[in-house]
């Protein structure tokens, strides 16, 4: 039983180790001064992050408000029909 568990763990670990080894540096490379460096601006990322957060919250609040209105309307309609 223990052998099977150990063997299963080893088999599961193989792809993870292989993937990790793919990213391992194989040697040192000299720094190239002339190579273009990434200069990603931070402001658009901050703007997008806050915008998406507010959009998600506003959308959820809006759908909730609509659901609440619909179910209240259905309930009132049903009560009115039952009274008749």
């Amino acid at each position: 039983m223990i052998k099977r568990v150990v063997l299963s763990c080893m088999l599961l670990a193989v792809p993870a180790v292989a993937a990790a080894q793919q990213n391992m540096p194989t040697g040192f490379k000299a720094f190239d001064e002339s190579a273009p460096r990434e200069t990603l601006p931070a402001a658009p990322l901050v703007f997008i992050a806050y915008s998406l957060a507010w959009i998600a919250l506003a959308f959820y609040a809006f759908t909730l408000w609509r659901k609440l209105g619909k179910v209240e309307q259905d309930l009132a309609e049903l009560r009115r029909l039952v009274k008749r």
Binding site: A42, L52, L64, R79, V82
Partner: protein, 219 residues
């Protein structure tokens, strides 16, 4: 509880309206610079994500062990839905921050992967409730328990495994200039969560009332 909703929503709206000024006044972090300001929305949403997960788990446990209480079921469903919303904000704002700070959108480390798994669990909870048919309440309560079991794992993962993600020691050691806007946003998000939670449970209660009224009308 629903009578307090407009008041709580107003408090949340006022706090969130003041929040950009407080975030703007907070100093930028020395190595990450401006992009670190995503922290003030990322961390509060992650905290609320975990709070919703615990609420869903506790309500699910009460449902399973306390005689299938309809109230516990409503609380679990509302908390699961809100876990999806706040989890989405966490999972979207994190990569936007990480792209600039780490150079990559995503890494499959313990923190990020476990957070994604936890978020997907709440999707399974809600989808199970929507399409699972009769008995899905019990099954989804089981999913809710698994979701809650993941919370400590997600929280401690950054301290146990090597990761690019900052450790949990960051928050207690924040200077006041960064800590005040953070806790301001946490309170604002908590107020918003409370109001949305009350509304969501009200929708579910009214739906139950509607179903009962329809059943009575049929008889």
């Amino acid at each position: 509880m629903t009578r307090a909703v407009p008041v709580v929503l107003l408090i949340a709206a006022a706090m969130l309206a003041a929040s950009p000024f407080m975030i703007d006044a907070a100093p930028p972090e020395v190595t990450m610079g401006l992009v670190q300001k995503i922290f003030y929305v990322h961390l509060p949403s992650a905290m609320i994500f975990m709070v919703s997960s615990v609420m869903c788990g506790v309500a699910s446990a009460i449902y399973l062990m306390g005689g299938r209480s309809a109230k516990a079921d409503r609380i679990a469903l509302a908390a699961a839905e809100l876990a999806i919303v706040f989890g989405l904000i966490t999972l979207v704002t994190g990569p936007l921050w990480g792209r600039k700070a780490w150079g990559v959108w995503w890494v499959w480390d313990a923190r990020l992967t476990s957070t994604l798994v936890m978020w997907l669990l709440y999707w399974s909870f809600v989808l199970l409730r929507r399409f699972g048919g009769a008995g899905s309440e019990t099954l989804s309560a089981g999913v809710g328990l698994f979701g809650m079991a993941l919370v400590p794992f997600v929280y401690w993962s950054v301290n146990v495994w090597r990761t690019l993600h900052p450790m949990t020691s960051v928050v207690p050691t924040l200077p006041a200039s960064m800590g005040i806007p953070l806790w301001w946003d946490v309170v604002a998000f908590a107020c918003l969560f409370g109001a949305l939670f009350a509304l969501r449970t009200r929708v579910e209660r009214l739906r139950t009332d509607l179903d009962s009224a329809l059943a009575d009308a049929d008889e």
